[in-house]
């Protein structure tokens, strides 16, 4: 479980996050949704420590990450995996080396054990026979899978994904979404996914936080989201035609 309280962040006088609090649950796919530029990515970066928030606390199962000393920070970081928007695979390393990298750096496992774990993770995300390919030789969807495998290889407790299905076709998007969802339940991971894809929200959103202009306007599960009376959220959900059908008939 991750709890955040009153996170604030400004970039040169522009207040991007205006005090955000909320909880992300273990074994659940927690979504952060909102329009472009509302600060979703910034919030995610604050949570993993890539950006230092100006104010506020982030608790990883009760451990304060923002004010942690170096040892505790390192300890928590080793439990964090992240899937980046563009996959962020190291392009000088092969698929296998990419997935093995966290183990190389963070553990003292013997090579054979590492290899076993890498192959297990690659298989789990549905990839085989690509171990020796370079990232430039595989498709975008495969890169995302490798990214997921790399994120979870070190038995992580927390998984963060920034727009896992941007740039993918609808079918592959659903596959990736489901993969994240399954892995979350299977390994009891606390997963936080940033997205603005309503499809993912309906498919895999266990718990949803809606951001608007740097403020949390709403949170809850995807069923109750459809009947929300928050105006901004309604505008967001029903922006596309397909979702309008839900509005008229919430039972579909």
């Amino acid at each position: 479980m991750i709890e955040i309280s009153d996170i604030k962040k400004s970039f040169d006088d522009v207040e991007v996050l205006k005090g955000i609090s909320g909880t992300f649950y273990q074994g659940k796919t927690n979504l952060i949704i909102g329009a472009s530029g509302t600060g979703k990515s910034v919030l995610l970066k604050c949570m993993v420590g890539l950006v230092k928030p100006d104010e506020g606390n982030i608790l990883y199962d009760g451990r304060d990450f923002t004010h942690a000393d170096r040892d505790l920070k390192t300890e928590i970081r080793r439990e964090i995996g992240m899937l980046f928007q563009g996959s962020a695979l190291f392009d000088s390393k092969s698929v296998e080396e990419n997935v093995m990298f966290p183990l190389d750096i963070l553990t003292t496992m013997p090579k054979s054990e590492k290899l076993e774990r890498v192959n297990f993770c690659l298989q789990r995300v549905g990839l085989s026979d690509v171990n020796n390919k370079m990232p430039s030789e595989i498709s975008g969807g495969m890169k995302k899978r490798v990214g997921i495998a790399r994120a979870i290889v070190n038995n992580v407790k927390y998984l963060f994904c920034d727009e896992p299905n941007s740039g993918l076709d609808p079918q592959t998007s659903i596959l990736i979404d489901n993969l994240i969802h399954e892995i979350t339940e299977e390994f009891g991971i606390t997963t936080v996914v940033v997205t603005h894809d309503m499809n993912s929200v309906m498919e895999i959103g266990d718990h949803i936080m809606f951001l608007h202009k740097g403020v949390k306007e709403w949170d809850g599960d995807n069923e109750s989201m459809l009947t929300t009376d928050v105006k901004e959220l309604q505008d967001f959900i029903y922006a596309n035609k397909f979702m309008k059908r839900f509005r008229n008939n919430p039972t579909i």
């Binding site: 890539l50 170096r70 080793r78 962020a88 190291f90 392009d91």
Partner: protein
Amino acid sequence: MKSIGKYFMFLGSLFVNRESFRTYVKLILDESILIGVKSIFIVVIVSTFIGAVTAVQTAFNLVSPLIANYVIGLIVRDMTILELAPTITAIVFAGKVGSNIAGGLGTMRITEQIDALEVMGINASSYLVLPKVIASMLMYPLLVILACFLCIYGGYLAGTLTNAVTGEEYIYGIRFGFNEFTISFMLVKSVVFAFLVSSISAYKGFFTKGGALEVGIASTSAVTNSCIAILLADYLLAQLLL
């Protein structure tokens, strides 16, 4: 001014929170191959020709019946050791290795690879940059020694082929009044230049913001700034040490 301060803070960050010694040894070896071995070709070409040109032009300018031919060897030697080998090679090095470092790190930055390292709790600046700086400082002096040798040899070839000077005279010239200190001076210069080129280029690449266009800009400004720093340092070292 602000960016100079940021540059020094960046240098400081290379030395905090490092990985294990073994990791670095491997990274330094990899970088040495990339930085050192892959630069040999261009260094060979440039230094041989510069030596040849220096010999031919010295012959053209100086030779009168009053000045002995061996002076050509002597002048090529002193110019090579003091200036041509360390400094001209440094400019070439900035163009090849500097732009490579800045482009590589810039790409890693904009494709979030640096963020990925940092999420894993790795100090990305030290993990990525320190091996490049150390490998440069190890490899560049070797390249300079090679350049020095080839430059003088290029002078020999050009001088003898054009009959400006005989082989014996040239050899006599390069041994005449030789001051060993110039070699130490050359090596000091090369270590300083290697540090400047690699750290400035890494700095430019590491803090790239934006997209592919900015990576190109970072590469260019890495080369320009490295060249300026090389020439400034060249002047300062000459003032201090000679």
